[in-house]
Symmetry: C2
Subunit: 312 residues, 2 copies
């Protein structure tokens, strides 16, 4: 029986431009990608905020999946968070053309009472103060994983360090890992982050995959000598829009962990492999579109291909 | 019984500066790193050129290994190729501070008659015209692999394209693969390179590993549906000097292939895994120093660790 999985983060309307075309007012946001990806594996409890302009069709994206929207607040008269971004060339980096935080700017998440016993918690990218306020409301989580970004490392480092002492796992990209630790070597950077509290850290490298660095004393599992796992990205040829790849990765990872209920090193690696495969689907079309016709059978089939690729 | 392996390329005296220190007149050059790495697996036939200033101690580096130096020319009164480079931060890119081609500038490789029946040939980075002249002298090679660089893509593209029609494999870095094909997606770039002639291409991504793209029709092996393999770099914490990592990678790869004598897809993947592990040793110390006390047992032990890391 899957464990319950809570996510708190942004829900957005994205306008995107990539070498493959444009899309306007696509459903996006960290909590959205995370929820939809995770819901392939386990029931998800979503906490977020939108404005009155949030289209009913988009609400249906959640309601048609095992995503509980009891924590989705609609602000009367408010406008949904909007992000306008573009990508060029190898699409390794998004360029933000425009941001309007709108109702997300004043988001003070309130966790509905039935959600407070959630066993797994994902704190999508947000202010570490807000992330900590979520943790204050959760009763006895078994696994808390946070995402963060350069903005918070730069402007709220103390709050971020206080948060890191309270989480089991951290997900961040390679530039952020280097920025947080001052160490250009990613394995050493990962180990320095473990020194700040987490049992494991997943460093995302975009098209180059991800690196897991874990503390074998605290993570547990049947492989006490293993603490590092580099996984390449799935070698995709159809990359249409990288938006949400990282949050889809985290959703696949946490969704898989919720489905197994075990969090040892070997489970983390397999979870990361699922995250990798889910992200490879996410980028094949604009926004969330690929998830509209993605089955768990397709996911498992690609996971087998991915597994076979790495067998030498 | 291992197959015979011929390499033609540069032998240099490198002066290096990295965040970990400096080294002056270290033995370097593409053919040097390649030979020393490959000789862990199979006998190597080296063709290159040095000046009269080449230290006897460095000659001993070859002579103490299974590296045949019958093709090593010493130019009377000449000076050895010198490269002065530096690395900063994450050390992803070398900065060339100074280059003196010296005797290497006029290098017109002559393959000694006993080397002309070599079954495996590695054309280390050099002008495609020179690389083709080597091929003209080799009688019936079973596997020819070439390295190249941006300079030749830029200045001798026609000669490079003519060469590519004659080789079985190409090794190049990710920026070069994008430059050669105009495609930012590395899998597609790899497939476009296959369209130019090679049966397989290995795209090196430095600290992010390597990507193999093969033509299943021509490479053969027991896995007709497999044509792409991404391998991460071995997660190293001691990166002292990346000089020669790519050539050590190629040496480990080709050395392993020479030791097995089979070149199907599955062999290529395993060869790439060996190359990855060899490169991870090469960068632990300046120049070739780590190879002075590297045993095949250490290599096999790290290969097992690497294999286990990727098992999910």
């Amino acid at each position: 029986m899957p464990e319950s999985l809570l996510v708190v983060g942004s829900i957005a309307l994205d306008t995107l431009r990539t070498p493959y075309g444009e899309a306007k007012d696509e459903l996006g946001g960290s909590a959205t990608f995370f929820s939809v990806a995770a819901s392939l594996f386990a029931p998800v409890r979503l906490v977020g905020v939108v404005g009155e302009d949030f289209p009913p069709d988009y609400r249906q994206v959640f309601d048609s999946r095992q995503i509980d929207t009891a924590g989705l607040v609609v602000v009367p008269g408010g406008k949904t968070f909007r992000w306008h971004g573009s990508y060029q060339g190898a699409m390794n980096e998004a360029r933000t053309e425009d941001v309007k935080l709108n109702v997300f700017g004043d988001f003070r998440p309130v966790i509905p009472p039935p959600f407070r016993q959630s066993r797994l918690v994902f704190l999508a990218n947000g202010s570490p103060v807000t992330q900590a306020s979520v943790l204050d409301q959760v009763e006895k989580p078994a696994l808390v994983v946070a995402d963060t970004m350069n903005l918070w490392i730069d402007t709220q480092k103390d709050a971020l360090l206080a948060l890191l002492a309270r989480v089991d796992g951290l997900v961040l990209n390679e530039g952020e890992a280097r920025m947080l630790t001052g160490d250009p070597n990613l394995v050493r950077a990962g180990r320095k982050i473990l020194g700040l509290g987490p049992k494991f850290v997943v460093i995302k490298k975009g098209e180059h995959g991800a690196l897991l660095v874990a503390n074998p004393q605290t993570v547990g599992g049947d492989s006490p000598n293993r603490s590092v796992c580099p996984l390449p990205a799935f070698p995709a040829t159809e990359v249409c829009d990288p938006t949400g790849a990282g949050d889809s990765f985290a959703g696949g990872m946490m969704g898989y962990l919720a489905s197994t209920g075990a969090f040892g090193f070997q489970h983390l690696i397999r979870a990361m492999a699922y995250g990798t495969v889910i992200a490879s689907f996410a980028i094949e079309d604009f926004g969330l579109r690929r998830f509209n016709h993605l089955t768990i059978d397709e996911v498992d089939s690609r996971l087998r291909d991915y597994h076979d690729m790495l067998a030498f």
